[in-house]
């Protein structure tokens, strides 16, 4: 500890702190331009100068000068003020005085400081710069004339985002922030540079000339895209969002956002949004009706099927973008009002697959890790996860961990991804062979005696079986199947077992064969073996695709689980719910989403309730999906847009967006965070919560909860994991469920796995599945891309602008063999169907594979895939 005096105030700070940090701790304000706590010290602007008595007469930059014991510091002497004032004068020599038309006006650091230092005239004169303004880049406008060269934009882009798309260019007096050859921005469009720029040199084009910053009402809420759960600050005027920014004092993201979170909000005000319920008339057309009529019709339709065929002939599938409260009510509606366990959600394909495996191995279908653990890890092992695209803000943490704190990164991926350039070990394996690779690692760790013997013998079961089953995964065999050489496997095995803080990250939704459950078990095996579960700061992070992937599981949108992971077949658990809900619940587990679609075609499912789900676009095998929907007696679809799925419905119910409602989402850390309603609902729509309540009432079952708060109270009484979650206690940090200390700690499994029953479950895959067909030689990979998440983001025109659809990525080698060039139209054909796309040659694509994102209605990749959970092979011919 160091003690020092700043402006007469005594303060203690820890060794290594800078004077600026000490001032902050003492509550003394020091102006800065180039300092930001998210960035490494830079010490370039000298705005932060202070006087140190011990350094008589010299002014030192406080942001980059270490504090020492006994220092006496003055931050606001005449000398200091004069130096700062001169600095401002110099900046203003070239700075255009266009504050009246600058979007930064009102929140500009330069403006504020000029005001604070009462600068009314300038001793210096010179001409203004007159650099051309970049009006042409998407989303971001760059006006170099306003730049104060603090370098924060270039540093955040490199140090945090890991892109370095803008940089100091030229030297001396000519130095500017720029791009190569003054080209337009070619980057991830995360807007972090805009957010950090203290002046109006980088501005948000969507916000341009729309409003003055002080007119905006600020509402903090949670991003509705991925499961990172970033806090967004909405800027609202009237009843519209004018911009979204990150506030670096709050949220798991501490102000960082990605392109989706920052720019992907315009779907909310899209003219395509539905604003009236629709029902299908005699002629088969969807016509506008009142809510009363629509709900009547929906209730009648479900009641008829229930009475004629039985409740087990009805199914419901919801999106993992609903709030916890909504998911809870949805499954309650299905179970209590309709009387069926046929409940599932979209993540049912992947995330719940992953977590099912996890639950069988470790007892909980949930992670025991935080974003901060990733940031602080010694070793990060990324498996089947292009997380810089699917969960960009988690990607930023990995980037910072590696670049700033020298964490060792291991990347196991079937193609080269952005993270590879940071990796200490790159395990670029043949597609679909992750489990073989993991078994190889397990084999290496066991045979080299690197495993955590104490933990294995005291807290786990099944080690001997694991050892026996993985014995055949010797180096030669693993290399043959995966293409990964012995030395890399040995090195990875060592890194994983000989470091203290180790995190494994796995993403949902990138599986080629639906082996998610097995993958989870294999990862869990590795984690138990190396002792990285049940140890603080280490663990596994399964990253769900959607904002509430975890909460949707917690709330029981599953055929076999009630809220809180209670088995429906468990009588005692069931009884508790039956008693509270005053009804009976079927004891048999229901059908999964895929089973329901199969059942629809066969006639065992006759009515479906799809909430925020668009299976025609996002489920495999579109032809089968449509056939199944057409075979139904009755279909209700609830969504924001008239999706291709909604067009098949008998009743369509328009729902509210995340910004128009409150409630909670649970992120990948199990952190329950509160959504704050920012906008009045679009006229004519209701929130999903309202719809479930009203529909249930129409069916004669009263839920008695009409606000999210009331629903959460009910959840708290029935779900032990959520008893701590109480709206009055949900501050800006949220609450991590199942952890002591009011959710401040995350020790779900307990130290050394003391709270769970941990089991090794050996897994293997059918390697023959990965053999291509001679007519269909290319393996199809389906997944998501940086600028999109689900199909919602495609309704935000600005994301479509930077990330348009309509392409198939293929490797250089394959493009050469097929004699295809970039942008050439082609047909991609599988056994099931064919779609027309344009070729995008991607040097990072692995030979023998092609990649198509699934977000776009206009490129229905799922016409190619199948629901049998086997890999899809395709052929490509010129269009």
């Amino acid at each position: 500890m160091l003690s020092l005096t700043i402006d007469e105030r005594e303060v203690d700070v820890k060794e290594g702190a800078t004077i600026l940090e000490a001032a902050e701790a003492a509550g003394v304000y020091v102006p800065t331009f180039c300092y930001h706590k998210r960035l490494m010290p830079f010490g370039a602007c000298r705005m932060c100068v202070v006087e140190v008595e011990q350094m008589k007469g010299r002014l030192v930059p406080s942001c980059s000068t270490p504090a020492t014991n006994g220092m006496v510091i003055h931050t606001n002497t005449a000398e200091v003020r004069k130096a700062r004032k001169t600095l401002l004068e110099l900046l203003l020599v070239h700075h255009p005085l266009d504050c009246p038309v600058c979007d930064k006006g009102g929140e500009c650091k330069l403006q504020d400081l000029v005001y604070e230092y009462e600068l009314t005239e300038n001793r210096f004169q010179d001409s203004k710069f007159g650099y051309p303004v970049d009006y042409y880049s998407p989303l971001i406008e760059r006006n170099t004339n306003r730049c104060v060269l603090c370098g924060m934009c270039a540093r955040v882009c490199d140090e945090v985002v890991g892109v370095a798309a803008i940089s100091f260019v030229d030297r001396g007096f000519k130095t500017v922030i720029g791009t190569n050859f003054e080209r337009v921005l070619n980057c991830e469009f995360c807007g972090e540079c805009v957010n950090i720029c203290p002046v109006g040199a980088l501005t948000d084009k969507l916000f341009k000339y729309k409003a003055r910053s002080w007119e905006l009402k600020k509402v903090n809420t949670i991003c509705s895209y991925c499961s990172t759960g970033c806090t967004l600050t909405l800027g609202i005027k009237g009843n519209s969002i004018y911009r979204i920014i990150g506030d670096d004092t709050i949220g798991v993201n501490k102000g960082s956002l990605c392109a989706k979170g920052r720019f992907g909000y315009q779907y909310i005000t899209s003219p395509e949004r539905m604003n009236s319920p629709l029902i299908k008339n005699e002629a088969g057309e969807l016509v506008r009706v009142t809510w009363e009529e629509a709900l009547e019709r929906a209730a009648k339709g479900f009641t008829e099927v229930k009475e004629k065929r039985g409740a087990e002939h009805i199914g419901g599938i919801c999106s993992d973008r609903l709030t916890n409260e909504e998911v809870y009510l949805f499954q309650k509606f299905m179970r209590a009002a309709l009387g069926t366990n046929n409940i599932d959600h979209a993540g049912g394909f992947s995330y719940s697959g992953l977590l099912k495996g996890f639950k069988s191995s470790l007892g909980y279908a949930a992670n025991d890790i935080t974003l901060n653990d990733v940031r602080c890890a010694d070793v990060i092992f990324v498996v089947r996860s292009n997380l810089s695209e699917t969960h960009p803000v988690i990607g930023y943490q990995v980037n910072m961990a590696v670049k700033r704190d020298e964490s060792q990164l291991i990347v196991a991926s079937d193609k080269t991804i952005k993270l590879n350039k940071l990796a200490a070990v790159s395990l670029t394996h043949k597609p679909g062979t992750e489990i073989v690779l993991l078994n190889g690692l397990i084999q290496a760790i066991i045979s080299e005696n690197l495993y955590d013997k104490e933990l294995v013998s005291s807290s786990t079961e099944g080690f001997e079986q694991l050892k026996a089953k993985t014995a055949r995964y010797g180096f030669d065999y693993v290399e043959k199947i995966t293409g990964i050489k012995e030395d890399k496997i040995r090195e990875t095995a060592r890194l994983l077992s000989q470091n203290k803080k180790v995190c494994i990250l796995v993403s949902a939704g990138l599986g080629i064969i639906s082996d998610d459950e097995k993958l989870a078990q294999a990862v869990a095996n590795l984690a138990m073996l190396t002792g990285m579960v049940g140890r603080k700061g280490s663990g596994i992070g399964f990253l769900g695709e959607k904002c509430n992937s975890q909460g949707t599981l917690d709330m029981g949108a599953l055929p076999h689980l009630l809220p809180g992971f209670e088995e429906v077949s468990d009588e005692k658990a069931r009884n508790a719910f039956e008693e509270a809900w005053k009804t009976s619940i079927p004891s048999q587990p229901g059908q999964s989403a895929l089973e329901m679609f199969e059942g629809a075609e066969k006639g065992s499912i006759n009515a479906l309730y799809l909430v925020g789900e668009n299976p025609v676009v996002s489920y495999p095998d579109t032809a089968q999906t449509i056939k199944a929907l057409e075979s139904l007696d009755f279909l209700v679809v609830q969504d924001l847009f008239l999706t291709p799925t909604a067009k098949c419905a008998d009743v369509v119910l328009p729902a509210a967006s995340f910004a128009e409602k409150s409630g909670t989402y649970t992120n990948f850390e199990r952190r329950v965070q509160k959504l704050n309603c920012g906008l009045n609902k679009l006229e004519g729509v209701k929130t999903d919560l309202e719809i479930f309540g009203e529909l249930s009432l129409k069916m004669g079952y009263e839920m008695n909860t009409s606000t999210p708060d009331e629903v959460m109270k009910e959840i708290g009484t029935l779900v032990p994991l959520y008893t701590e979650v109480n709206y009055s206690r949900l501050g800006e940090e949220g609450i991590v469920w199942g952890s002591p200390n009011g959710g401040k700690e995350t020790t779900l499994y307990g130290e050394k796995l003391s709270k769970v029953k941990a089991r090794f479950i050996p897994v293997e895959v059918d390697e023959a599945m990965l053999e291509p067909d001679k007519d269909y030689p290319l393996l199809l990979l389906v997944g998501s891309v940086l600028f999109h998440s689900g199909s919602l983001s495609t309704k935000s025109p600005e994301l479509d602008q930077v990330g348009p659809g309509g392409w198939v990525a293929m490797s250089m080698e394959d493009a050469r063999d097929y004699q295809l060039t970039d942008g050439q139209p082609v047909f991609v054909r599988s056994k099931r169907g064919e779609i027309a796309l344009k070729v995008k040659i991607n040097k990072k694509q692995t030979k023998g594979t092609v990649f198509i994102p699934y977000h776009f209605e206009s490129q229905p990749v799922n016409t190619l895939t199948s629901k049998d959970l086997r890999p899809t092979f395709v052929e490509i011919r010129k269009g």
Partner: protein
């Protein structure tokens, strides 16, 4: 935003030959996955091509997996990298304070006239490139001019032109 806004510059066109591309790719391959290798790669590539045009920068950026803006930033920061082909002889006139007051500014005007090129340009026969620098650290010899590696001090206009002529 590199360079002056004085209209189009006289730049000698030079294509990168297939052999040069081969060597560039080899240099990139030798340094791939080694941290901190950007500057050595740029140096070696410039030794081969004589300059670092956009297409070469893009190749290096892609090969080393860094953003082209970053590469461009590094190149424009160091005066020993050049974006355009330089002549066989690079004439650098010091514009530091000491030299400036001794008249290098006027000398520059004369040299431009004499060589028929502006600053940061190259004569068509590739014999000379003209550049300016800030203080060469030889203020005692002001005014100072450096041609290739040779420093010439205590100059006047005629002497400077004579010296330049000696370089083939």
């Amino acid at each position: 935003m590199a360079g002056e806004s004085s209209g189009k510059k006289k730049v000698v066109e030079k294509e990168i030959t297939p052999e040069e591309w081969g060597e560039i790719d080899q240099i990139i391959a030798d340094h791939r996955d080694k941290p901190g290798s950007l500057i050595p790669v740029l140096q070696q590539v410039q030794d081969i091509c004589g300059f670092l045009p956009e297409e070469v920068q893009n190749r290096i950026a892609e090969g080393l997996d860094v953003h082209p803006s970053y590469v461009y930033g590094v190149i424009t920061f160091y005066s020993f990298f050049t974006l355009v082909p330089r002549g066989r002889n690079v004439v650098r006139l010091c514009m530091g304070t000491a030299c400036y007051v001794q008249g290098t500014n006027k000398m520059l005007g004369k040299l431009k006239q004499n060589l028929g090129i502006d600053v940061e340009e190259t004569t068509e026969d590739m014999r000379y490139s003209l550049e300016t620098v800030r203080c060469l650290g030889a203020c005692g010899l002001a005014p100072v001019m450096v041609v290739n590696q040779d420093t010439h001090g205590l100059l006047n206009i005629d002497k400077a032109i004579e010296i330049v002529k000696e370089y083939e």
